[in-house]
């Protein structure tokens, strides 16, 4: 009988709404506000992200003046980039970034697989949270703290000297590409853990049970199942590390040296030298590299699959 009672209540409530509806102008205003809620960020991103990036390309062919630049068309900035030591620096920073990606993958992806397969569901996100904690420390402090560890009279050298493993301090680990790579792995490892974890979340648990049932050895499970299924996530994490390795000037600035300069640092130096078209050209080249990578990745793995676990 309660059901009937409820129904009566409901119809009564419906009647009330009919008698005193929300005033029409207020309803319109609400609709407008909710639309603005989405519109404002879009406008913001177009105005301050998409537009300046597009203009970078335009500005990169402008004529350089003493303190700024003026409209014109010249490829001088690109010439300046491609026919100088800058190209070599750019290419070697690509190599170093690739090494960082590889090292981060080797260190980070097993963590993601481990967390997915062995850590109980309730603890999983807490474990992943541990990898966010380093980000609470300002990057410049984190990176700078490496210096006393890596430098000539630093922690590593002192310990090794004391132990008698070496007789001369090792100078190859700071102000060199190696130092930059250590810094990059330190800074960007969490991204491959996150991306890998997200990718592994998308791999259904039953997949591993089928493998157990079929008696698949571990390396086959990894090569045949985990890698292809996690590929989009790994790729996204890899691109992130690679692009940051090229672009973040802070790392080579603090840890690098003559042979360890990346695109970000070249651009910074160009800005310091008031050569704005050159800085713009370097930005445009980096953007082109990123877009090329993303296109390649999307063709290979369909990057929309990264978000599968959210569905």
């Amino acid at each position: 009988m309660t059901r009937v009672g409820n129904r009566v209540d409901l119809s009564k409530r419906g009647g009330d709404t009919l008698r005193s509806p929300v005033p029409l102008p207020r309803l319109r205003l609400q609709r407008l506000l909710s639309r603005l809620l989405f519109l404002i960020p879009i406008v913001f991103m177009v105005l301050f992200f998409a537009l300046p990036l597009a203009l970078t390309v335009v500005w990169s062919v402008f004529e350089r003046t003493m303190f700024w630049m003026e409209p014109g068309f010249t490829l001088f900035a690109y010439e300046n980039f491609f026919f100088s030591a800058r190209l070599n620096n750019f290419l070697s920073s690509m190599l170093h970034s690739s090494i960082s990606v590889l090292v981060s993958f080797v260190f980070g992806f097993p963590i993601a697989v481990f967390v997915r397969r062995r850590v109980p569901q309730v603890a999983r996100h807490r474990v992943i949270l541990l990898f966010i904690l380093p980000f609470m420390v300002s990057e410049i402090i984190r990176i700078f703290a490496l210096r006393p560890v890596l430098q000539r009279t630093g922690l590593i050298n002192n310990v090794l000297l004391e132990m008698g493993v070496i007789t001369e301090p090792i100078t190859a680990i700071l102000y060199t590409p190696l130092g930059v790579i250590i810094g990059e792995v330190l800074s960007f490892l969490p991204f491959i853990v996150f991306a890998g974890f997200l990718a592994m979340e998308a791999v259904p648990k039953f997949v591993f049970e089928i493998c157990d049932d079929l008696g698949a050895p571990r390396h086959r499970v990894f090569i045949d199942i985990i890698l292809p299924l996690a590929a989009p996530g790994i790729f996204a994490g890899g691109v992130f590390i690679f692009v940051n390795g090229l672009g973040v000037a802070l790392l080579p600035n603090i840890l690098g040296g003559p042979g360890a300069v990346n695109a970000g640092l070249i651009a910074t130096q160009a800005i310091t030298a008031l050569d704005f078209p050159l800085a713009m050209a370097i930005s445009a080249i980096m953007m082109g590299t990123l877009l090329g990578l993303l296109y390649l990745g999307h063709r290979l793995f369909d990057l929309t699959r990264i978000l599968t676990p959210i569905n």
């Binding site: 039953f206 997949v207 049970e209 157990d212 049932d213 008696g215 299924l229």
Partner: protein, 369 residues
């Protein structure tokens, strides 16, 4: 594939099998024997331990106690791939990045079988499960039923002696489930190997099973074929779980040869003990299938073979084929009379009317446990 339908050899022989998760006993001392070539169903409510039992058979979890013999060989400590079993999971359990053919062939690839032989066997299997035309499709482009067939193919192609099916049809809608049930049954008859199938769906279980085991609260309640468990259950739980039974609770007050008299406080029923050792004072339940109960027409004299009981009419619930007439007994318990729907009965009584219910005496069943 060999045909060894219903031979005497036991494909599965389980003794005293237990599984604990911490302090939770998922399975307690289960003894079970499944004949080779049988279609066997483990039926029970969710969380009752039937999936635990299946996974123990497959080797996905280790027993806390007891022994598992498969075709006479003790496999209790063996990993899944060292057992003569193969597991079929719920329908979406396929490798999402492999085609149908690759899914079916992956197990053979792991066995390092030559490529030619793999593709021959896969083709033959796809033919058998009716998916030859879809060999190059990806799993997400298949319907639920097709996905389930790929799973079956993936397991059958390995030529295991025992196929374990874990709620294989649970993800399918009702109509498809019915079709797949018959398909499974026919497939099992064709290949002749032992199928052990877990489900909580009674109709599914009865459609496919040669024999069933009812599993609840970590215990094996009762085994038998579908007809026996439906018409002649021994345990109270079985009568409650299978079909739709009316249940009366009382005490044995007299045992007279094969008949036990059970006192329900408001009535006394004389019920066949069916070989159970009934003693005076035992708590007992008496069940009667609801479709065997009907409402006597006013003034109708019941035959001797009928048990009658007064009740107060409650309501009619129309279910299509049948209508359930729900009434109340003198002690307030509900009793259901389920009859093929016909207008003249459905509309004959109004709530609160005193009626007399009747059912054949010999159909009543005594449950002591």
């Amino acid at each position: 594939m060999s045909t060894m339908k219903q031979s005497n050899e036991a494909a599965v022989q389980v003794t005293g099998l237990s599984k604990n998760y911490g302090s939770v006993q998922a399975l307690r001392g289960v003894n079970l024997s499944i004949g080779a070539g049988e279609y066997f169903v483990l039926l029970g409510p969710s969380g009752g331990g039937k999936t635990t039992l299946l996974r123990l058979l497959g080797g996905f979890i280790r027993p806390s106690g007891g022994q598992i013999l498969l075709h006479g060989r003790d496999v209790s400590e063996q990993p899944p791939n060292h057992r003569p079993t193969s597991m079929v999971f719920q329908s979406f359990a396929l490798f999402p990045h492999m085609t149908v053919a690759q899914n079916v062939g992956y197990g053979l690839r792991l066995r390092k079988m030559p490529k030619r032989e793999i593709s021959e066997r896969v083709d033959a299997m796809l033919e058998q499960i009716g998916l030859a035309a879809l060999a190059e499709r990806m799993p997400h482009a298949l319907s639920g039923g097709q996905q389930q067939r790929v799973q079956l193919g993936r397991s059958l192609v390995l030529e295991a002696d025992i196929l374990l099916l874990d709620e294989p049809l649970a993800a399918l809608d009702a109509k498809l489930r019915k079709e797949m049930c018959l398909e499974l049954k026919h497939l099992q008859e064709q290949v002749g190997i032992t199928f052990v199938h877990v489900t909580h769906n009674q109709e599914e279980a009865m459609t496919v099973a040669d024999n069933l085991a009812i599993i609840a609260d970590g215990e094996l309640v009762e085994t038998g074929d579908a007809r026996t468990l439906y018409e002649n259950p021994i345990r109270r739980f079985t009568a409650d779980f299978i079909g739709e039974n009316n249940m009366f609770h009382g005490r044995v007050v007299e045992v007279n040869g094969p008949l036990a008299e059970v006192d329900l406080d408001f009535a006394k029923l004389a019920v066949d003990t069916r070989g159970q050792a009934a003693k005076v004072g035992d708590r007992a339940a008496v069940s009667i299938r609801s479709e065997l109960v009907w409402i006597l027409s006013p003034g109708e004299e019941p035959a001797d073979a009928l048990q009658t009981m007064p009740a107060t009419y409650g309501e009619a619930v129309y279910l299509g084929l049948a209508t359930s007439h729900v009434s109340r007994l003198a002690n307030g318990d509900t009793i259901v009379a389920r009859q093929i729907s016909r207008d003249e009965i459905s509309n004959a009584f109004s709530a609160g009317t005193g009626i007399t219910l009747a059912w054949p005496r010999r159909e009543m069943r005594l449950h002591l446990s």
